[in-house]
Amino acid sequence: MNTVFKLFLSMSFSGAALILALLAGKRFWRDKISRQWQYYIWLVVILRLLLPFAPERNLMATACQAVEQALSGTTLSVLPQPMTDTEDADVPVSVWTPGSVTVDNALQEDENADNPAPDFKDAAHLSSGNENVGDYIWLVWLAVVSGLLIRKITMYQSFVRYVKDGCSPVNDIAMLERFSDAATQTGIKKPVELCVNPLVSSPMLIGFFHPCIVLPGTEISEKDFHYIALHELTHHKRRDILYKWLVQVTVCLHWFNPMVYRMRREITRACEFSCDAAVLAKVGKDHAPEYGKTLLDAMAAVRTYRENFGAVTLSENKQLLKERLVAVMNVRKKSKTVVMLTGVMTLCLIFGAAFMGVYPAAAAQPDSTKEHRSSPAEAGNAADNNGQTPIALQAEQYYEAGSFPMFLIAFSRMDEEAKGAWLNRIYADGQFMFLGAVASQLETDSAHIQQIAEKAYADDSVIFFSVVVKRMSEKTLKAWLDRAQADGKFAFQSILFDLLDDEKLDAMEEELEKQDETARKQEYLEHGIVSDQNLKTFYYESQLVHIFLDIRKEKSFYFLQVNPQGTVNVKVTRDGNNHIESVDYMTDAEVTALFGDMKEEENDEYEASAYDMPQIISVNEQRIAAGAKRWFGDYDLRSGDKIRYDIEAETGDAIMVGFVNNADSRFSDTTYCSALVHREDGVLKCTADFVCGEPVKDGQYKLYIYAPEGALGNVKGSVSIAHAQ
């Protein structure tokens, strides 16, 4: 394999680890740390992915040592061997492989995590055996990269041409003056062109050297225009197009790395978020509602040209828009502590980037082999002299930065005592995400697992308990189940039942659920909530409940029931002992916060509730001869029933689907709800909806598929009939 390519692979791996670290950290800092930071911190990752070298030479040696320390003693003793075997050949393979293993572990929480040595040997064998294949892979990579880059560039050019062709400059001098005002406010010296193109659906910024803001039309209010101009000019000021292209190029180069696509998505979001934040910082927080309204209005139009990368548009998509609105409303000044913390985190990440990239980079250079040979000894010394200090320090850093993968590496190298201490700390901090990651490193039924389980059980912490039970043997699980049953802890029992797969237990679980339901029904009744037997319908203060929500203290476990006919929304809160603390009506804000995403689905449900569960008739015919009709059974159709065809044929030119009310009568006379479709753009697909009514009289009908022009091959799909209630 080409050394440069290998170096590149290692960059990709360390980049992926950094991306994972940032993604994992996001949930902790999303609303706490400045949006600008969240946007620009990705630059560190991009630089890691693009630049093969570390900032300082001497850092390499230190980093090599640190990593080798991080590897277990067994690995160290194995390490020098393949090196001497393949002295002239590609040493780096053997060195970067363990790195890749740890990344995989972080991803899959692989059980072999504490013993990377066997994988490492296999990989070394594989790579030395497939030297020729390696060369080939390198070429494939290059071919795909150039292909992707050319495609990206041509698509961007055609997009710019599409936009520019329909552009006419804005001649309204008043508007130009307002635009200049916005430019002054943004602090832009070089003027930006302002154009109108009715073909674009939302305002956008195109061109890097000759920037131009394109509006869909000039009929916008003074306020909207001001905000739009500020937003787009801010994009220009921050050189977001350059950033976007940097990301695109990185994605093209690392096309095989799934994490970079995730990164691109994150950056796109972060870009808009931080731009909104920057605009609001300029105009003042009181403008937030109006600015949010402008975002909404800009979204009202649907984009006509789908590929809008490279251009910076005001509205990227609906989901993102929703989040942006929430963020816009929550803009606030960051406290000094947060600013300090941000600084520390940035340093951590940059250090992390250098540290991770350096290790493989150093390894990929044959002349660094010598450093390597000496390092195991040094590493050994360090470990002898000073047991856990460096690892503990690293673990501390990664833990603070919320970086799972790196923390895991450090954790797996700790002794039992240190592991125990960390587990206690994670538990005390309530970091169940970390516990989940770390648990995979612990042995089944180990003392640590038991200890945490005991604690969680005593504290009624269902969520922590559910994490550690995954590392228990069946025997232990059964013992826990007996205990939970004896203590009458339903939540714990249900977790254990889910994990134990046993018929006898299934029956028990059902029984238990019934008991639980009866108990809950009684409990609700005591707090003025009347429910039916199955806990499906609730009444509160003589009103039918629409949304019924019962949340445990730690929010790990909730019970939710929605009744479309209901008129009030009720929320049950529980105290630490799991007793009902209060029953309240939910505020509108709470409903939106909890069910904002589900609203649309709910509407579908309302609609669906007017119909029975649809009857699905699946169609799978290898061949229907020319002029032949195939029958698919008898169905009762009544006025108001909904019929949907979704049938595709692989070969053939035309397909007809429909119903006849009597199979004996002539075809053309009595066919109902029929759809005749011809092949279009190479596809022969019949999708149609009907609602029964005149001239379809209530009665029994036969479903048919007909091949009017030539034979049909591989006819597949379904017909669904939803009977009106």
Binding site: N171, L176, E177, S180, D181, V192, E193
Partner: protein, 127 residues
């Protein structure tokens, strides 16, 4: 000269032409426009000037950090092209149609009418 220019751009061109074909400095243009009751912002003016340069009406030359603008199209050239365009569009190329409209529409003062008559006579003497 197929390019059309907007009203605001024409205002700028008038100031440039008034300079008598000499190159005009940016600051000088801005001052003169402000004096004519058009106190446009710097960015607006630069955008408009850039458009004129792109349309081939002006030539920009950088002198140090200042821009100097020279007209590439004279006022007479612009007027004749615009008139031709106007004749084509409104009178289908017939100049007599335009003149008869000017006279019958009472759009000329007596002095102007005299002047026009003299011009016509001069023209016929030349032939």
């Amino acid at each position: 000269m197929a390019q059309q220019i907007s009203d605001a751009e024409l205002e700028i061109m008038k100031v440039v032409w008034a300079n008598g074909g000499e190159p005009a400095l940016f600051a000088c243009l801005a001052d003169k426009l402000a004096a004519k009751g058009r106190p446009w912002q710097k960015n607006t003016l630069i955008t408009l000037l850039n458009r004129l340069v792109n349309k081939g009406f002006l030539k920009a030359k950088k002198i140090g950090r200042r821009n100097e603008y020279t007209p590439l199209v004279s006022e007479a050239e612009y007027q004749s092209a615009q008139t031709k365009n106007f004749l084509e569009k409104i009178y289908e190329g017939s100049a007599s149609g335009l003149v008869s409209m000017l006279i019958s529409g009472d759009m000329l003062t007596d002095d102007e009418y005299e002047e026009l008559r003299k011009l016509l006579e001069k023209g016929s003497q030349k032939l």
